[in-house]
């Protein structure tokens, strides 16, 4: 049986590299022969467009979020992409109306958690791309995942958004009675800019625990890869952006290895939750 990992890629700010991170990580995971399911929760559906998925209103994850039986509905909406090992449930524009229509409905935040239960045996990874707002959509994504990846543009203004995001995570941890471990991913780092270096320094000081110590550099080949609708590891395997994501992925995988679970609050549980067999201890953060 597979040990499916659900990761949410989120930040309460737009244009910081969430979708780029989702696509790049998916490409690399698929290359490592993992089966990946992508879920596009953004009404802009840019992830869906990247993989030329059908993003029409009644073919998207919206259906799962409003379904009476989300577990039954989600498998029906999975679309194949042209890339081996990558499948997707698309987003669609009516996702934007969810908050207004169902934002106050009991249990609405757990629809995705329930939907994903149906596919954990089929996939090694489920990656959820979020809209840049804390609302019903992002809460569904955070409730459903075991790990949160937070891309942050290395720039002063973007850091303010990060504070909000971290506060939201803390609040949700209490509500969900579960730990929400996260990895902050500094993106679009421009080494020529003093401001970039300063912002990076601030990140290191303020988030010593969650920060991935590397950076994703500004790399024009992301835009090139995007215009070819291809993950960067396939379009430009040698790009420095791809190398950075490869390192970042190793780090996140290491953070999520089963042994790490020991550190979560429920360690008194008598059920054996540790599995050290996979823990080579080879990588150190």
């Amino acid at each position: 049986m597979k040990q499916c990992q659900v990761w949410t890629i989120a930040n309460q700010k737009g244009g910081v590299g969430k979708t780029t991170t989702t696509v790049s990580l998916a490409g690399l995971l698929a290359e490592q022969a993992y089966k990946v399911l992508l879920i596009d929760l953004d009404p802009h559906a840019s992830l869906s467009h990247y993989f030329t998925a059908d993003a029409r209103v009644n073919h998207s994850i919206f259906e799962v979020l409003i379904a009476q039986y989300p577990q039954q509905r989600l498998p029906e909406l999975i679309q194949k992409t042209t890339f081996t090992n990558i499948d997707i449930v698309s987003g669609s524009m009516n996702l934007a109306t969810l908050d207004g229509q169902y934002g106050q409905m009991q249990g609405m935040g757990l629809q995705l958690t329930n939907g994903i239960k149906a596919v954990v045996d089929e996939y090694d990874y489920v990656l959820i791309d979020c809209p840049p707002m804390l609302g019903v959509l992002m809460i569904n994504a955070l409730a459903a995942c075991q790990h949160v990846v937070i891309p942050v543009q290395v720039e002063h203004l973007a850091l303010q958004g990060l504070t909000k995001m971290m506060q939201s995570l803390t609040m949700l941890e209490t509500k969900l009675h579960k730990a929400l471990p996260s990895t902050i991913l500094p993106t679009m780092f421009d080494k020529r800019l003093k401001a970039s270096a300063r912002a990076y320094q601030t990140l290191r000081e303020e988030y010593p625990k969650n920060l991935w110590k590397g950076v994703i550099p500004v790399d024009t080949q992301f835009r090139e890869a995007s215009s070819q609708l291809t993950p960067i590891n396939i379009a430009y395997p040698k790009a420095k952006g791809n190398k950075a994501y490869t390192m970042a992925l190793m780090h996140i995988q290491h953070q999520c290895r089963p042994g790490k679970i020991r550190k979560l609050p429920n360690h008194k549980n008598t059920q054996p939750i540790d599995d050290f067999s996979n823990d080579q201890g080879a990588l150190h953060a």
């Binding site: 009644n58 207004g100 409905m105």
Partner: protein, 271 residues
């Protein structure tokens, strides 16, 4: 607008252990309206020019900065004319539509602006809009003022309704009046022959009313900055035409004004 719950309560509700989604209906899996070939989307410039041609009001002088303190004449516009809301019952409406259609004259209609204010007053400095296509023209509607978007399923024609009302659609047990986007908004004079019109795909529900507008396609959601919109003076004719989003070069609708007008049986070029 909608009540905003404090974050804490919001989370408690959303994450309640006992989901209570039993009454959530399903959007019908198939639509009675055949899906048609994609509308050719003209370049934005052409759309803009078309829009200008159709709505010369857009070329009128723009109102001063709205973020600045309201100038005297804007305030003057917003305050007077308390008009009783015209919210006829469904049945009554059928007849009132028919009669009012022929009798409405230029002076009969006063927008009931005091109830819902003007769009530029209601929206935040930046707000999201959804862009749809009606008959090849791109129209934006502010997201916060929508009641939902649904695939069009069976629309029940109601005898005696105005031409621009497609009829009534049942959405999860509630009946909504569906406005024919083309006949009401784009082509109220009926110049487009029926046979060139393609079937509608979606109905966009307008604020909390029981009205929706039918459109052919959805294009995008856009984040609008208030200052990047060419706002119209809303006291003029066509109160539904709030302005134009400069970047997308598309018309921005005031949903409350639309509902206000259709409830009075008016089409977009009547006032």
């Amino acid at each position: 607008m909608r009540e905003v719950l404090p974050l804490d309560d919001f989370l408690d509700t959303l994450l309640a252990d006992e989901p209570n989604l039993g009454h959530l209906g399903r959007v019908p899996a198939h639509s009675a309206v055949e899906l048609v070939e994609e509308l050719d989307s003209s370049p934005l410039e052409t759309l803009f020019l078309n829009a200008l041609h159709r709505y010369p009001e857009l070329a009128e002088p723009v109102l001063p900065e709205f973020d600045a303190p309201a100038s005297a004449d804007i305030t003057a516009l917003a305050v007077p004319q308390v008009v009783a809301p015209v919210v006829p019952e469904m049945q009554e409406q059928n007849s009132s539509v028919n009669t009012s259609q022929s009798t409405i004259s230029d002076t009969d209609y006063t927008p009931t602006v005091t109830e819902y204010g003007y769009l530029h007053e209601r929206v935040a400095r930046s707000f999201q809009s959804i862009v749809c296509v009606i008959n090849g023209t791109q129209i934006a509607l502010p997201l916060a003022e929508l009641g939902g978007i649904h695939q069009i399923s069976k629309i029940e024609r109601i005898a005696g309704k105005a031409q621009w009302c497609l009829g009534v659609m049942d959405i999860k047990g509630t009946n909504y009046n569906v406005v024919d986007g083309s006949r009401w908004l784009i082509d109220p004079n009926g110049r487009v022959a029926d046979e060139v019109e393609s079937p509608y795909q979606y109905v966009i529900l307008l604020n909390d009313s029981n009205w929706g507008i039918a459109c052919h396609d959805l294009v995008d959601t856009v984040l609008c900055e208030k200052e990047n919109i060419k706002w119209r003076d809303p006291s003029r004719s066509k109160p539904w035409l709030a302005g134009i989003i400069k970047e997308q070069m598309c018309i921005l609708l005031d949903t409350f004004a639309v509902v206000d007008m259709v409830q009075q049986g008016l089409v977009s070029n009547q006032q």
